[in-house]
């Protein structure tokens, strides 16, 4: 394939060195009716595309992730965000499959987003960037897959917002995928999910530095974005995982301070998470991506069962027992609707205390389900050995 030789190289210490690549797209027609372009899409690939181009799997990142799903960038100490799942002999086995991961539209990790330069003004888009949807992200990915010369994906897979993209692929482009792996996700955002996002957005927008999204080259709305991330982190963990990790442990002190300094470890953890997030994520992207998820509703006035009329792919749905942000009940709702539509659907609820974060933590059980599932789809639907 075009990228042959650029991936899977081993560095001196035997780590797989990968590079982010870029694909240009003239124009995207957005669900809102607006047009956006030209666009740049950051993506990475792992493994080799076979001659029949039948072993490609598209992996989607979650909210604040990026195209760097696996392997190491030259000089980096940490691998990609799903490295435990993608690699030789892993759940997404790069000895057998060609894995693609791209950064979503509207993000700030290499694909065009609100922090990108608007060619019309030579300034960052800021709030002039159009509001985007999960469907728009998927359309851009579809263009990338076309560009790579792949007419049918063996699978597409992701957790959280990545799972929303996977199920959207199955509904919007059924003839282009053999299977969808939908992890810790939903077919529509609920009032509670929208509410948490709204609090995050309000935190960003009430930071005076946010300045209606026009802060590039000036002071960042760091405090607002940090608070938004703190709220997010609470929703990603579970009651049990917070209790186990922090309990009521005090922070470098023997007794309570009886003031409003930080007393508890959990406070300092949230502060740290908030601060480090500010260094790696753009506040406007935070607004746009949360909005995209809030708009996500595949039913759109129809009954849930009608969403999946016309799907042709197989499905693997995974949820986690302690995930209260995207609870199992939402996955089960999708599973039932798929069963009603006579789709081939497998579903497992994995036992975990890690809450919504579980899809980035529970590798053994996910690997057990996913590796065999992909092998089955390859055998039965794509003619892979």
């Amino acid at each position: 394939m075009r990228n042959k030789g650029r991936q899977g190289k081993l560095s001196a210490n035997n780590m797989t060195i990968v590079e982010t690549q870029h694909f240009s797209l003239d124009q995207a027609h957005l669900k809102s009716g607006e047009k956006l372009g030209p666009l740049s899409v950051a993506y990475e690939t792992y493994g080799q595309l076979n001659a029949a181009r039948s072993n490609a799997i598209l992996v989607f990142h979650a909210f604040t992730g990026d195209a760097h799903a696996a392997g190491y960038h030259q000089g980096d100490a940490k691998p990609g965000w799903w490295d435990a799942m993608i690699g030789p002999g892993k759940a997404f086995d790069t000895d057998k499959y060609f894995i693609i991961c791209s950064n979503v539209l509207g993000s700030c990790k290499g694909t065009t987003g609100p922090d990108s330069i608007d060619p019309r003004t030579n300034k960052p888009f800021g709030l002039t960037f159009p509001v985007i949807t999960i469907e728009d992200m998927v359309d851009v990915q579809k263009a990338l897959v076309d560009h790579l010369g792949i007419t049918k994906l063996l699978s597409c897979a992701g957790g959280s917002m990545g799972g929303m993209q996977a199920v959207t692929w199955a509904v919007k482009y059924p003839q282009y995928i053999h299977s969808a792996i939908v992890i810790a996700a939903c077919h529509r955002h609920t009032a509670q999910q929208i509410a948490f996002h709204e609090v995050g957005r309000q935190a960003v927008m009430s930071d005076v530095a946010w300045n209606n999204g026009d802060y590039y080259g000036k002071a960042l709305p760091a405090r607002g974005l940090a608070v938004a991330r703190m709220i997010g982190h609470i929703t990603y963990m579970s009651w049990v995982s917070m209790e186990q990790k922090f309990g009521r442990k005090l922070l470098d002190k023997q007794k309570l301070g009886y003031d409003f300094s930080k007393d508890f470890e959990v406070q300092s953890y949230l502060e740290y998470r908030g601060q480090s997030f500010v260094e790696r994520f753009d506040a406007n992207s935070y607004l746009y991506l949360t909005k995209a998820m809030d708009y996500f509703n595949l039913a759109e006035g129809r009954k849930v069962s009608e969403i999946f009329k016309g799907v042709t792919s197989d499905f693997l749905v995974i949820s986690f027992t302690s995930d209260w942000l995207y609870p199992s009940s939402q996955s089960q709702e999708m599973v039932r609707a798929l069963q009603a539509e006579d789709a081939d659907v497998s579903y497992v609820e994995i036992e975990s205390d890690y809450g919504h974060d579980a899809f980035l933590v529970e590798f053994d059980d996910q690997t057990r389900a996913i590796s065999h599932y992909i092998a089955k789809v390859g055998r039965e639907r794509a003619g892979l050995a």
Binding site: D314, Q332, R336, A337, A340, V348, E349, R368, K376
Partner: protein
């Protein structure tokens, strides 16, 4: 060695049938039906560990509860619904059987005989709730919710106007033809609505 009950069930089912296995366990039967009979099968199972085993076998399976999860399927979606060694673990027997007969053209039920000879002897002469090879659980750790004899099941079918098309009686991997209520440790029934 293939389990006799699996062999009997596989013999019943016509090639290419659509099958729903309720309480499919580790998926061995579904995998066999897929390979030998080219069936399109899927299972419902409550235990995640068993689901992982199904997936290792390449069997399609969804975690769920057969007491409540059959409503989604349209009438006669499946050629066969299988309830092998699972009906006695169900809370609402009548609803599950009715649902099964609704979504399946035929239903195959495999149940243990809680009143076989050994069990009767243990109750009568030892004064104990029976623990035998075919009924291995003790009273405090059994997953079974319903304790029935093969006769009880046949009577239930008569009462509910469920037609028993065929039946087999088994004891320790052999078929039993005489005094089945005493000597059989399990039975397999093919059911359809009258």
């Amino acid at each position: 060695m293939i389990r006799l009950d699996y062999e009997i069930i596989a013999d019943i089912i016509e090639p290419g049938s659509r099958v729903l296995d309720l309480g499919c366990g580790d998926g061995e039967l579904l995998s066999m039906l897929k390979m030998k009979k080219n069936c399109r099968g899927t299972g419902i199972e409550i235990s995640p560990e068993q689901i992982f085993r199904c997936m290792e076998r390449g069997v399609s399976v969804a975690q769920g509860n057969i007491d409540s999860d059959l409503d989604v399927y349209e009438n006669k979606r499946f050629d066969y619904v299988i309830l092998n060694e699972s009906l006695q673990q169900v809370l609402n027997i009548e609803k599950v059987l009715n649902d099964s007969l609704r979504v399946g053209k035929k239903v195959i039920v495999g149940i243990p005989n809680f009143c076989n000879l050994r069990a009767r002897l243990q109750i009568s002469f030892m004064g104990q709730v029976p623990v035998t090879k075919s009924l291995p659980y003790k009273w405090y750790n059994t997953p079974n919710l319903r304790f029935l004899s093969l006769k009880d099941f046949r009577d239930f079918c008569t009462e509910k106007k469920i037609h028993i098309e065929k039946s087999w009686y088994l004891c320790e991997g052999r078929k039993v033809v005489l005094l089945t209520g005493l000597f059989a440790d399990s039975g397999i029934f093919v059911l359809r609505r009258e």
